[in-house]
Symmetry: C2
Amino acid sequence: MWTDPSCPVARTVDLIGDRWSLLIIRDAMDGARSFTDFQQRTGIARNILADRLRKLAAHDVLEQVEAPSGKRRQYALTAAGRDLFAVIVTLRQWGERHAFEAGEPHSVLVDERGAVVPTLVPTAPDGAPLTSETTVVRK
Amino acid sequence: MWTDPSCPVARTVDLIGDRWSLLIIRDAMDGARSFTDFQQRTGIARNILADRLRKLAAHDVLEQVEAPSGKRRQYALTAAGRDLFAVIVTLRQWGERHAFEAGEPHSVLVDERGAVVPTLVPTAPDGAPLTSETTVVRK
DNA sequence: CCCGATTGGTTGCGATTTGCAACTCTTCGG
DNA sequence: CCGAAGAGTTGCAAATCGCAACCAATCGGG
């Protein structure tokens, strides 16, 4: 089932590591709920969207909920799906730094007061910044 | 060229958002340098690996460097590639929380002292934790 | 200096996966 | 009750992937 069973990175990538799943999750965090919401925001093909929504639901990232006043289905993030927020934020912040020309405009993530969300940096328990050179994977 | 030109998440996903690129970057951060290093660690097909290494180099995530004592090529992360560390860390931490059964063993990321790297949480400038519900994307 | 092993790919081809368009079935609004 | 959306499904054609075989350049030992 897993690409590399002992590595949490590989497992996560197996579950959500394709272009469309990540964009679907992004849009769910931005308020998308219906099939056509997702289809229009991402531009994904409808059959692939149906497949991805099924897989994300099967992996407990999304769930189907009954709309309050009707029969039409809605998709909502589960607790695990909402917990992907940090992943989406780091992808966004990397893109802002490295996928835009200097001065090229892009959207930004702000909190309820309108303040820009600070860059997420891995740190040691004492607060010192960490990099791949100052960390190691222990089996 | 871009799936959604104004969204930094979409741009990042366009560049590195496939299963193999992310695993290649993970392995590069873990010390992989040669073609066969990457091939053996990921298990990727050789032609696909050659293609991904080319693309990652074209997008300035990896670069080819001459090995000190010889002609054989090595791949190294660029500054932009090393800056993906936070992305790999959040993917890893999500996987640890949601892709393993309770009690199922997995590798962990530790700093030079051996201390486990704390969970990365998006926060407001004042340190308050943020979620997708307490943030908004401003165009 | 020569030979076999290793490294770093490339090529061909069959198996999957995607994307597009058309079609269906249900539901919502008036 | 009728027409328009919404939510998928189906049938292809085209693009990707994965495997195995092949190849050229090193490297390493004798």
